[in-house]
Symmetry: C2
Subunit: 281 residues, 2 copies
């Protein structure tokens, strides 16, 4: 046998978006070739490929689907827009169930145009969750509220801290609504350790995602996340905190970065696994 021993990658996962240059079959092949046992899937490319066909592809390869990204965008005031968002989220729940993952990541949504009421937007998210949570629970899918970095508060996600995400999630049963711990969004916050403990006590850490914080941020700031080890985040501190909080689930690397996307996708998979070994394990 010349195969590399990859038992240390148990529980490791790479989100599809990290290597979005790869078509789904190439992604599956690249992950299995490098011994990566899990994948986080992204709705749009999965829909393009076909949900049933994608489910078959990853199942046949023996990959665990650690998340489906993403539902959410639940802050609309307009009734028609709100109804459309709820429909879309029910479809996302169905897709998650079909793909065999128990975790649908939610990016909550920003402020409507001209609106300055963050608290009101957060209440509309709670109202939407009240409709979606039972629907998800009946299908074995958990809604995972992802706090996004405060720099996204106006245009993408009014939920900026783990505490805010938990304030929303705790209104619902833990098997229906929990949270995402993503190092990129939370690393700066000195209350994140307390938030992780609170989330762990409630069984609400549904997924642990990794990306590093690097600067300068690019225009629009969305695609400036760093490869693991390139930035300011103490990955082992996060790993230890979620472990101490009782989390035993997958560790999923999700990076949006133009430089990574410009490279050979299989090389990026290999590098990401190597960085995981060097900076997380």
């Amino acid at each position: 046998m010349t195969t590399t021993d990859t038992t240390d990658l148990a529980g490791f996962s790479i989100n599809q978006r990290t290597v979005k240059q790869l078509a789904l079959p190439e992604l599956v092949e690249g992950l299995t070739a490098h011994g990566v046992p899990g994948v986080g899937l992204w709705r749009e490319p999965v829909q393009e490929y076909g949900v049933a066909a994608a489910a078959r592809l990853v199942r046949d390869a023996g990959l665990a689907v650690t998340t489906l990204c993403r539902g959410g965008f639940l802050t609309a005031v307009d009734p028609a827009a709100r109804a459309a968002a709820l429909d879309d989220n029910r479809a996302a729940v169905d897709e998650a169930a079909a793909l065999g993952t128990d975790t649908l990541v939610l990016v909550s949504g920003g402020l409507p145009d001209g609106d300055k009421d963050l608290a009101g937007a957060r209440e509309r998210i709670a109202d939407a969750l009240a409709e979606l949570a039972p629907y998800a629970g009946e299908r074995g899918v958990r809604l995972a509220i992802e706090p996004l970095h405060p720099m996204f508060a106006s245009d993408r996600c009014v939920v900026s801290t783990l505490a805010q995400a938990l304030d929303l999630a705790e209104r619902f049963p833990a098997e229906q609504v929990g949270i995402v711990v993503d190092t990129y969004h939370l690393w700066w916050d000195d209350t994140v350790g307390a938030g992780i403990r609170r989330a762990g006590e409630g069984g609400r850490i549904h997924i642990f995602q990794l990306a590093d914080w690097i600067t300068p941020l690019p225009e629009g700031v969305l695609n400036g996340r760093g490869q693991i080890g390139d930035g300011s985040v103490d990955m082992r501190w996060f790993r230890d905190e979620v472990a101490k909080a009782g989390y035993t689930g997958p560790v999923e690397v999700e990076i949006f970065n133009e430089d990574l996307w410009a490279r050979d996708g299989r090389e990026v998979i290999a590098e990401t696994a190597a960085r995981y070994r060097a900076h997380v394990l």
Copy 2:
């Protein structure tokens, strides 16, 4: 008399950096022409003009110097760099005293290269404040710790929330160390109201600064602040919160924005005063 009534601008101030295209005499002339009674000064252009000459210019024009920006950058580990930073901050205190302002704004500094220890960096700030605070107090100058938006945590300021700034400030007497409430940096935080009350109770709101939050953020994110009224910040909510917390000091507009800098500076002063009337008063 055809002079516009500007009594409603009592307590209003514009930071020099908002109209950095104006030389100091033009700035002073523009502010007085529009009835703006206060100015926040910036160290580098003041040093270029000469501190004593600048002090004379603003005093003769009857302008109140609401702040000097900025000291800080106190997170160095290297002893020589740390000593240089302390020297520079003592010089900034002296300049503030010479200019007749009681408030020196501190931007605390980011992580040293390759460092991931935010808590350690914050402790080094506390150590530096222990040396600087008495020096400032003896000269009638208060050090005002400015929490910067979390997107600056790695490269500019490891103090990201009002709570963190107060945790540092409260180790020292309020007449030596307080905080800055800047809408741009704090607007997203649902605990900021509690922080403002805590700061007010301790007499530690040293200055109230305004800028609006707009997107998309430009590359590097530093110079993407919005003119008052152009963005997501509820300015009147902030005004009311600092007032309820007992703050009766100046309201200083400080905007870094390439578009504003490209325009006629006097026009920007007029617009800023108009926006203040429309969105803050």
